[in-house]
């Protein structure tokens, strides 16, 4: 009895005004974030006639939309395109950004600071300014309406290089010097010693890059013309253009599109907090 009373008393003491306000704000934030997602899933289970019935749980839920999206039209193709683009660009960023970041963090050579500042300064150029040069370049090299055309602007990024450089700077030089004495060459030291020590940064970079490319809209819209090369975000808009606005189809496609991002996030989420802390520097 006494123990229960103690616990109750402690709980009462824990309920302070500051805490109540904090929890209320977090609850409202949570609801605002989750509601659109729930509506997306809800709408994907509705028939066209039920779309404007705003009940969260559909009166007669159906998987017909999923069957239609997956069996007809080009949704699977767009899904594949998005996967190819996101995976290749993510792998490329993990490789090149960490290689450049490592070099800038761990080697002393003339012009090192200048190169770093030059890379960093590209962060200040907005994408809108780059699109025209990218387009002209793609047209000149015959990259329009190709996978490479979609991917090349993002194969390495200044942000990724910066993130990796910051993390590699935390790796003690003694690790690398010990490996040098043990006979490893510089590439092996990077791959076998330095890379495993920055896994949190690699995971964060993987999540950011994958999400960024999976949801990319502006550049893929400009560089692709044929429907077979559409990525998911572009493909989904065609539901709106060609067949009036088929909300249930858009929502079904969007629901399916969230699956890979959720999987990537769940696999790497334990590392993201540290990554987000650094990403905050990007502004």
């Amino acid at each position: 009895m006494t123990a229960t009373a103690d616990i109750r008393e402690r709980r009462m003491r824990d309920i302070r005004p500051g805490r109540i306000i904090r929890w209320t704000i977090l609850f409202i934030g949570g609801v605002l974030m989750v509601t659109p997602l729930l509506y997306m899933f809800s709408t994907s289970l509705k028939t066209p006639g039920q779309i404007y019935d705003l009940r969260l749980i559909p009166a007669a839920p159906t998987l017909a939309n999923y069957v239609e999206v997956l069996s007809e039209g080009e949704f699977p193709r767009w899904f594949l395109n998005s996967s190819i683009v996101a995976i290749v660009v993510t792998a490329s960023n993990l490789f090149f950004d960490s290689l450049v970041g490592y070099t800038l963090a761990k080697f002393r050579f003339r012009g090192r600071r200048l190169i770093f500042i030059a890379i960093l300064s590209t962060l200040m150029i907005p994408t809108e300014m780059l699109v025209i040069p990218w387009y002209l370049m793609s047209a000149q090299f015959g990259w329009l309406d190709t996978y490479w055309g979609i991917m090349f602007p993002g194969m390495t990024t200044a942000f990724g290089t910066f993130l990796m450089k910051q993390f590699f700077e935390t790796v003690p030089d003694d690790f690398l010097e010990a490996a040098r004495i043990d006979g490893m060459n510089e590439f092996t030291i990077w791959w076998k010693i330095a890379m495993p020590l920055v896994t949190p940064a690699l995971s964060a970079l993987a999540i950011f890059t994958f999400l960024g490319n999976w949801t990319a809209f502006f550049w893929p819209l400009i560089v692709t013309t044929s429907k077979e090369l559409y990525t998911l975000p572009i493909g989904l808009t065609s539901f709106a253009v060609e067949q009036a606005i088929r909300w249930e189809m858009i929502m079904t496609g969007a629901a399916l599109a969230t699956i890979p991002t959720l999987l990537v996030f769940l696999a790497l989420q334990r590392y993201i907090v540290r990554g987000v802390m650094l990403a905050g520097l990007k502004g």
Partner: protein, 345 residues
């Protein structure tokens, strides 16, 4: 194993010269300890021997071969770092085995060597653990294991015990010494701890400001320091050094004298009656440190704090006036201007 020779070795960082043409011969199987205060150039010298720093002038020879231009890996030396430098993402077995990364030995032989090193260092129960699950001393042993499996011509140690607590440090000192005796290895060891130097070295090299001040057997340096710096650096507590002069063949402390008189606290016996010659000092007690077998007594002589020793059973009161005496045979004399030893009087 091999000899290590430094011939007019010089190191410059930009325009600043930090090592000024030092010469040293480390014999085959010898345990040489570089000792000196921070910034004296001892670690830089070790890193040049390892090939981690470029040589600005002079030569380094390992086993008679000039290695100035060789990569660290081509010098066939092993190094143990201050923070162990064992890889957190690898097990103890992998960490020790990485020392054989480029070795052309067959797999079975590599595994045998790893297990043998682990057995010698008492690490066999931990072979499949990661470093995070090991204590500081065990981690240091893993770093030593990685160096051992290579069968290098020389071992380099860069302040390997400075991250350990006092008790573990004392234990590891004995283990490293035993390892040296077992392997007969040539060892160059850097530390700023003179106790490590005294207890482990076959030969101590005292460095200051990029110069070698003195080198020799530990007791040689303790008994016959060439200058005030070495005299105060070797031995704990530090040697008492007071200005003074010679009067009738006996040293007398006093400000403004032409010499510096040095006497080790252990040689300055509190309460002992003055005999013929020798040094007698007196003053009020400012602090006492009872250590058990002896008591260190701090007292004031003309504004300078002097440490003497008394038997463990005697603990003088702070504020009381005492007299201490040291026989002539243990007195060191230095030139007040150059601080160089003047030799026996």
């Amino acid at each position: 194993m091999a000899t290590i020779t430094l011939d007019k070795l010089t190191k410059r960082f930009g325009k600043t010269e930090v090592i000024h043409g030092i010469d040293l011969d480390v014999k085959d199987g010898e345990f040489v300890v570089f000792v000196g205060p921070s910034g004296c150039g001892k670690s830089t010298t070790l890193r040049m021997i390892a090939g981690l720093e470029e040589v600005s002038g002079g030569e380094i020879r390992i086993g008679g071969r000039v290695v100035n231009e060789l990569d660290p890996k081509s010098r066939n030396i092993a190094m143990v770092f201050q923070n162990y430098a064992i890889y957190p993402h690898m097990t103890v077995r992998q960490n020790i085995g990485i020392g054989l990364y480029t070795s052309k030995l067959e797999k079975g032989e590599k595994a045998r060597r790893v297990e043998e090193a682990a057995r010698i260092l008492g690490l066999d129960p931990y072979l499949d653990r990661r470093p995070a699950a090991l204590s500081g001393g065990q981690r240091q042993r893993v770093a030593m294991g990685r160096a051992m499996v290579r069968d290098p011509v020389a071992f380099l140690f860069d302040e390997p015990l400075s991250n350990l607590d006092a008790q573990l440090r004392a234990q590891m000192r004995i283990e490293i010494k035993a390892l040296h005796q077992r392997l007969g290895a040539t060892i160059a060891y850097v530390t700023h701890d003179q106790v490590e130097a005294m207890t482990m070295a076959d030969r101590i090299v005292v460095m200051r400001d990029g110069y070698i001040l003195q080198q020799g057997r530990p007791m040689e340096l303790y008994s016959n320091p060439v200058d005030v710096f070495t005299a105060r650096f070797i031995g704990t507590p530090s040697m008492n050094v007071l200005p003074g002069r010679m009067e009738g063949g006996a040293p007398v402390a006093g400000a403004g004298g032409p010499i510096l008189i040095g006497v080790r606290p252990q040689d300055l016996q509190v309460g002992r009656r003055a005999g013929e010659g020798g040094l007698t000092l007196s003053g009020p007690v400012t602090a006492v440190e009872p250590l058990g077998p002896e008591t260190l007594v701090h007292f004031d002589v003309d504004g300078e704090t002097v440490i003497g020793s008394a038997p463990g059973s005697e603990i003088p009161e702070v504020g009381s006036r005492i007299e201490a005496h040291a026989p002539d045979s243990v007195i060191h004399r230095f030139d007040a201007e150059t601080e160089k030893a003047l030799g026996p009087s």
